[in-house]
């Protein structure tokens, strides 16, 4: 059994080392991966909310809040400093998450999803409309900020962003996993199956959901700030519903049973998308759709679910009693979990 968990740990360490070494070895700025790291953050936020069975079709709004925050501050401070901009983005999305969260956590399922959509569409329209402040649909330029006081060339700056994003993501994944394993995290999951009982245990479902909501807003906001920093621009479609839909899509694609689903989903989705855009040109959307359909039909529990299953098979093949190993079991079990995720209320 010890061998399994150490095997797991080794795999994790190898992956982490590979991520750390990538820019050093390839000499590229790795901005594709930076975007993957950054986009995994809002997806992680969505996964948090999915634990409670709630699907937000509006989290792109926090993504936009993050990106526009660094844009505005950067503009006001001649670029600003990354060390200031990211916390500011986190704070702004936290406040936005709190204000909107207080309102939306009273709703469930489709109503929750659609209210989030409504708020994000309001933000989208405002970003689009107040051209003189936001730059309208052309977007808001985000000048390259200094990093801890040092002005940067593009390639150095991108390397810095790569590691900053990677570090934030690693922290977020670890924190997310710990959170989901905590009493609060379990209470969040409990909301999904029986909110009545949650209340009858003396726990405020709304408060628990609000905590998760604000956390997810901050994750989305920081993700948006990082993407904005990489791209050098924030546009209103950062807040558009299709992007929110994409976050949800990627979360489910990655697998909602585990925080790692955020990373797996973001990586696979961005990879397929850019490969399709690069190699099939005009039919990239169709290719993307077809590949994703194949993934869904082939791995209905998400990539992480599929991986867990494979892992279970490998370990049970390598060690006779593998399947019963407590290390392997929880994942395999959650992967097997085919309980319906309700987007609507009622039903059994």
């Amino acid at each position: 059994m010890a061998t399994h968990s150490s095997l797991r740990r080794t795999a994790l360490a190898v992956a982490a080392l590979a991520a750390i070494a990538y820019p050093l070895v390839t000499g590229s700025s790795g901005s594709f991966l930076t975007i993957v790291w950054a986009k995994a953050l809002p997806v992680l936020g969505i996964i948090l909310l999915l634990q409670a069975g709630q699907v937000s079709f509006g989290h792109a709004m926090f993504f936009a809040v993050g990106a526009y925050t660094i844009g505005f501050i950067g503009r006001a401070m001649a670029g600003g400093d990354l060390a200031l901009l990211l916390p500011a983005a986190a704070l702004a999305s936290l406040l936005a998450g709190l204000v909107i969260g207080v309102f939306v956590v009273r709703y469930r399922y489709i109503f929750f999803g659609m209210l989030n959509l409504a708020f994000s569409m309001v933000l989208f329209s405002m970003l689009d409309k107040f051209i003189h402040i936001t730059g309208g649909s052309d977007g808001l330029r985000i000048a390259r900020p200094a990093v801890l006081g040092a002005a940067m060339e593009r390639s150095d700056y991108e390397t810095v962003l790569y590691y900053v994003s990677l570090a934030i993501l690693a922290l977020a994944l670890y924190g997310g996993a710990r959170f989901l394993d905590s009493p609060l995290g379990h209470a969040l999951k409990a909301i999904k199956s029986n909110e009545t009982r949650v209340e009858y245990l003396g726990i405020s479902a709304r408060l628990v959901l609000l905590v998760a909501y604000v956390a997810s807003a901050v994750l989305a906001g920081v993700g948006g700030a990082l993407v904005g920093a990489v791209q050098g621009i924030a546009t209103p479609d950062y807040a558009y519903w299709v992007r929110s839909g994409e976050f949800v899509f990627v979360a489910i694609l990655g697998g909602t049973g585990h925080v790692a689903g955020a990373l797996a989903g973001a990586f696979v989705y961005e990879f397929i998308r850019s490969a399709a855009a690069a190699y099939v040109g005009d039919t990239w959307q169709m290719t993307l759709g077809i590949v994703l359909l194949a993934v869904i039909l082939f791995a209905p529990r998400g990539i992480v679910g599929m991986a867990a299953e494979l892992w279970g098979r490998i370990t049970s093949a390598s060690a006779r009693h593998g399947a019963a190993s407590p290390e392997a079991a929880p994942d395999a079990a959650s992967a097997r979990d085919a309980r319906p995720l309700r987007i609507v209320g009622g039903g059994r």
């Binding site: 999915l50 699907v55 079709f57 009273r106 709703y107 489709i110 109503f111 999803g113 659609m114 209210l115 959509l117 409504a118 708020f119 569409m121 309001v122 329209s125 409309k129 009545t196 519903w241 299709v242 839909g245 949800v248 899509f249 489910i252 694609l253 909602t256 005009d282 039919t283 990239w284 959307q285 169709m286 993307l288 759709g289 077809i290 994703l292 359909l293 869904i296 039909l297 209905p300 529990r301 085919a338 309980r339 319906p340 995720l341 309700r342 987007i343 609507v344 209320g345 009622g346 039903g347 059994r348």
Partner: protein, 300 residues
Amino acid sequence: MSHIIILAVLDGIAYGSLVFLVAVGLTLVFGVMRILNVAHGSFYALGAYAAASLGLGLTALGLSPWLSYPLFVVAAAAVGVVVGGALERLLLQRIYRHEEALQLLVTFAVFMILDNAQRLIWGVQPYFYSEPLRLLGNVSVAGITYTAYQVVFLPLVAIAVLVALRLFLRHTLAGAVIVAVTEDREAATAIGVDARRVFLITFIIGTTLASLGGALAAPTTSILPGMGADMIVLSFAVAATAGLGQIEGTAVAALAIGLGRSFAVFFAPELEVLMPYLIMVLVLLVRPEGLFGKATARKI
């Protein structure tokens, strides 16, 4: 002033009728199958393309443009049965056993595919076919010209669909069966209901309504790839405002959103885009389960 209100009301009704036709299909699929069909808007677009193609075919063959009316219905049903049926049978049925969110994923992927397919089949130049609109001529209200198609014909179709759906769901066995499957698929099976068939039929009805909406919109709008994307969000907003699976609620919500939009154009154009969402937020503030949200069954 008062005549401006009349104008705004007429525009609102015309627009609301179209929105209703599309949104009610979504509501049905959503209410019955618990599937948030992201590809619903694509069916709207397909319906429009199919109708326009048939219509242009009519013109090319020199046949009477009046035939376009029945042809529109045929086109819509064909899209619903063929594309909708295939989607349900080949994709959705494989995943009913899994998480409901997966269905969302499948429809999202299908949305991307259909969007692209429209571009490959019909190209990127806007299509249009406005014969049916012309045939019905104009009407004049308070000195302002309207097309009879938009202010008379579309609302009549919407009312007909509303009444028909109501009768169907409330007073036919098929309707009752659909409602039963909605609520508890297994219990319905245990009393002899073929849930698979109900799902298929419901999905076909829903997508047919979407493509009927598209077909009827065809004479009024430019048909181009991706035209469905905005319709989806709008339909979602209507469905949520209405309350789950509420047919009458959908009608009221669609009308409210249509009126909200046209009043905005007249009195506060800045709010036009926000109108559906403002209405939705307001309604849900007062009625958290939507306009016509149904009382949930007691659990304890």
